[in-house]
Amino acid sequence: MSARGTSVRLGLEADFWTIASGTAAAQLAFAALVWVYGQSPRAMTALVFEGTWGSAYGIGQVLFKATPLLFTGLAVHVGLRAGLFNVGAEGQLAAASLAVGVLGAHLPHGTPAIVALPLLAIVAAAAGALWAAPAAGLRARGAHEVISTILLNRVADAFIGLMLGLGLAEHGTVRTEEVVAGARLSRLDRFVHPLEGSAASTAIVIAVLFVAAILWVLPRTRRGREAELVAQNDEACRAEKIPVSRRRSEALIASGAIAGLASLGTVLGYKGYFEQGLGAGAGFAGLAVAILGRGRLVGIVFAALLFGTLAQGGLAINAYVPAEAMEVIQGVVIVVVALADARLRAWLTEKLRAIVVLKREGAS
């Protein structure tokens, strides 16, 4: 077998084991938490299933919860690929949501969707990128992006409160006005009637296509390829005249732009306006999605659905076990998958080394 074939096969094997370990960790952590809360894991699992994949409505709700996670998961992945931890997706999404909400409401009435949607997508991406830009600049000066993006999350919170207070909110409320009709994304139940009542919108279709497109494009562009090389060894890249800190800045800004796009799902697909706290949590969940998804379309979609299921399932059992337990599970999954990933990487390199030795011994 060619080395290429072997690497691809081994890579798929590693993907499989990552997903398997993540799913198993989620189930075990769930069982443990439920048990500690004095409930039967079996009964609670049944409840979760009933509330999610057990009905068309439940499925719709899972899709709805998964939608922003597809964007934020991809956003974090784009950062990770360049060796950066964008833990600022929360703030980037919030800033973008505010921008989309405000501009969407101020478009002329009757603006057709064909104009409104692309325009607002650009606004969302630009606002997300803008909120990531200070962190990108700081990173270029040597300050670690984790601290700066986290601080920017806090600034976003306060900034949004300030802006809403200064008159961007509808009078007497803490939300923006309704966006114009042409800017709304249709609910899926208009096309798939069994989903009746669920909040899933066509945003999820956009999200999946977008994730697929970006993942396809990344390794096929110079910037995408170089960003990955920079992450793996910046010193060697610098020696070969690759603009290292520019690649990093670009990646962080792109990551922010993608995180901002999640507002298409939350503002345009779900509420139709922006209010403080809308989409909160999606940024941090994106980290879990990115780590579990390993930069594969299937992986990211699976991970988004898994955490969407947890989020929706949490509501189904909230009467017995607090929904926040699902956040705890998210954290556990992140650690377990990272541990599995480290092992799998070492295993992969070892396997490939063995192949090289075999080939050389065969040749001589």
């Binding site: 938490l33 809360y37 931890f85 833990v87 200070p134 600049g137 700081l138 000066r141 040597g142 300050a143 670690h144 984790v146 601290i147 700066s148 986290i150 601080l151 920017l152 999350n153 806090r154 600034v155 306060a158 900034f159 409160g161 300030l162 207070g165 200064l166 941090f284 980290l287 879990a288 780590i291 076990v321 607090p322 926040e324 337990a325 699902m326 956040e327 705890v328 998210q330 954290g331 556990v332 992140i334 650690v335 990272a338 541990l339 990933d341 480290a342």
Partner: protein
């Protein structure tokens, strides 16, 4: 009362000192962890866990027992952070972010089990008696003494003891330290546990001060403390000073209560923006001194 009068008052100084306590404690926690070579973005989560543990135990067994509980849970999280990161050979940022997520969700889960509310605990007395003046209250608060003691201890132990030397060696050159026969993983686990305990204490100090625990009440202080550590060049005394500056900005919020809402929102952003600006100014100029050479480097 004018804005400026309220800023310049003695109350403001006391208010700053009071606000500084959790920042400073958490920053010393960060110093312990990072000087040993383990990146610690989990200070925030450790504060939350310590805060809830402190309040929960203080309610049943009194404030001193609460402090012990906060130290213990912080140390346990620190040990877990270092052990998983080092033994699993994974990025400490991943572990740290996961601990934050687990702590934020976990404290809410526990609160609902204990108090049927996932947003806040019933109120407690904490250390300080109510009623006396703010200045006296701050000056007599055991947490103030604990904070000063933590800074002094961190400085002395890191500089002058065998353990401190070994912690620094693990942070500056883990491979060299290992070659010298030092158990790097064990040393790091210990150092990060000490750091975790201090962060846990920071959480308890915050909760005692507010007389209750609220979900997410650390409110970014752990990250600010970490920014202070970076700005200080990983030096305990300077980190404490930077924290006092952050705390002064933070304290403005309390003083400005009753002023316009917009002004309050603006002031709320202030410490964070200040931290970002300071990072922008000092990162490149090398004014901070670089990070420990072995920060984030696994020993094997």
């Amino acid at each position: 009362m004018s804005v400026f009068a309220s800023i310049a008052s003695l109350t403001m100084i006391a208010q700053t000192a009071r606000t500084a306590v959790p920042y400073v404690l958490a920053s010393q926690g960060g110093v312990w962890s990072e000087r040993s070579g383990v990146v610690n973005v989990a200070l925030e989560g450790m504060m939350l866990a310590g805060g809830l543990a402190g309040v929960a135990v203080a309610r049943t067994h009194g404030p001193i027992a609460g402090v012990v509980a906060a130290l213990a849970i912080g140390a346990a999280l620190g040990a877990a952070h270092a052990a998983v990161t080092e033994l699993g050979r994974i990025d400490a940022i991943v572990t740290g972010v996961a601990i934050n997520i687990i702590a934020l969700g976990g404290t809410r889960v526990v609160m609902r089990a204990l108090y049927q509310s996932s947003s806040n605990s019933p109120s407690i007395d904490g250390f300080a008696g109510r009623g006396s003046s703010m200045v006296a209250r701050v000056a007599l608060d055991p947490m103030s003494f604990a904070t000063i003691a933590a800074v002094v201890m961190t400085m002395l132990v890191l500089r002058g003891t065998r353990f401190g030397l070994r912690v620094r060696a693990c942070g500056e050159g883990p491979l060299a330290a290992r070659a010298a026969g030092i158990a790097v993983v064990r040393t790091r686990v210990l150092a990060v546990s000490i750091g975790g305990a201090l962060a846990g204490l920071a959480g308890a100090a915050l909760a005692y001060d507010e007389h209750q625990f609220q979900s997410g009440m650390s409110g970014g202080r752990g990250f600010m403390a970490l920014a202070a550590v970076v700005l200080s060049g990983w030096r305990p005394g300077r980190a404490a000073l930077v924290c006092v500056v952050f705390a002064a900005l933070d304290a403005l919020q309390g003083v400005l209560q009753g002023h316009a809402r917009a002004l309050q929102d603006l002031v709320q952003m202030l410490p964070f923006v200040a931290a970002l600006v300071a990072l922008a100014i000092f990162s490149r100029s090398g004014g901070t001194g670089g990070p420990p050479a072995g920060l984030g480097v696994h020993a094997e």
